[in-house]
Assembly symmetry: C2
Homo-oligomer: 221 residues x 2
DNA sequence: CCTACTAAGTGTTTGAAACACACTAATTAG
DNA sequence: CTAATTAGTGTGTTTCAAACACTTAGTAGG
């Protein structure tokens, strides 16, 4: 079956940039393309938008297919549509970005053991098409969004230490923050409460665990 | 001639939201649709993206067709693509917004004298499809962008008074600002210089005219 | 020409948030 | 019990936002 139109139509895809934090670095999920075009190159995961599917719904579907994740912060970055971005046909992509805690991420490596990997943002491979540009824009946007204190929480488990939270801020911003100022600010936000539990991770003082307060939890969506 | 695809393709349009300031209010250009769907309703001007045309280029083309404007601040707002937004076929639109000084705007009213008009943002008619939602998002974005001091300059002639500049800020933000604080901030930005000229507009003290300094002009693009 | 009216123009003070900065506390390994 | 390591804490300083009222220069109208 074919579909015919009086005028040429572009194809529309959604690409989903999955951000996470691993080994104290901000990373993104990339897949190695198994087919032309750009075969063998790394790319942002994505796929075509169903003809009766909203853009956001398509983004959720892609996110779930690639990572198994059902809930996360998922927002639109924008549309990218230079005519030369795909050699086969005109493809316009709408990019979304998602923030996912590392332990909720279970991307499957498919047939080839090497075809889906996390890459540190500071250490990216050569990317297919304009995906380098798209990632760059996503990272900028993420940095802007960091003013919203609730954003980095998406990248952490439900219980976390202040050191972890600071870590996340630091690797998104790409610079060190002052510990005392950071904790002061977090405390004054009123979003967190101590669980009472501690985490022991080595031969040193244990860290107190925090969680998001019940009332603040509402803001996370 | 028809164009055939193995899978259904959506149509892709660009819509261009033209912001300007008139009568001390923030306004947008709307057109009254002459054809179905949404015939007779007001809508954001826009059109289909050429198959070999970049999104940005299409946005520039639409802007020029509707308003005669060749230079302005033109930025992407995002893609909107709910499947029910057009009853004929699946249409995904990429919305752009432009800031244009009122006196550079020469939209033509076409055959019917009433088919292209500026509407105050606070006084919009019922809009076709999801255009109300799109406008709302654009206004939010514009307010965010106002932190960048250079943005409102797009809405003013090359020579302007401080009162005018303040006016623009106020009607974008939707609230009054303190005159002294405003002027202090503008002065400290170092972007402006007095032309030495004055503007007399009534039975009161004349206002000094300012322009953007040569060095700051570079930032405007 | 004098008065009334109108918008232009100008500084200071206060409170809040951002920033710089260094030591003590709790735990484990050896 | 000592060394090593990360957790945790307070103060002074600077910078930025916000509140606030009077003087100045022009025009209109008597």
């Amino acid at each position: 079956m074919t579909y015919s139109y009086e005028y040429p139509h572009p194809a529309v895809t959604v690409d989903v940039i999955v951000f996470t934090v691993e080994e104290e670095r901000l990373k993104v999920l990339l897949i190695r393309r198994g087919q032309e075009p750009f075969k063998g190159q790394w790319a942002i995961p994505g796929g075509f938008v169903g003809i009766d599917e909203s853009l956001k719904r398509a983004a959720w579907r892609e996110l779930k297919e690639e990572t198994g994740v059902r809930a996360a912060l998922l927002q639109q970055l924008g549309a990218f549509g230079r005519p030369d971005r795909d050699p086969r046909e005109r493809i316009i992509t709408v990019a979304y970005y998602a923030l996912v805690a590392r332990e909720k991420l279970t991307f499957r490596a498919g047939s080839d053991a090497d075809d889906a990997r996390l890459f540190a943002l500071s250490d990216l491979p050569v990317l297919a098409s304009d995906h380098g540009k798209i990632l760059q824009r996503a990272a900028e946007r993420l940095r802007q969004q960091l003013q919203d204190v609730t954003v980095p929480l998406q990248l952490l488990p439900t219980e976390f230490t202040m050191a972890q939270l600071q870590q996340v801020h630091e690797c998104i911003l790409g610079r060190k923050l002052d510990k005392r100022n950071f904790r002061k600010k977090m405390k004054s936000s009123g979003l967190f409460e101590a669980t009472g539990e501690q985490r022991r991770t080595g031969s040193h003082r244990p860290a107190a665990l925090y969680r998001v307060t019940r009332s603040a939890n509402v803001l996370l969506r």
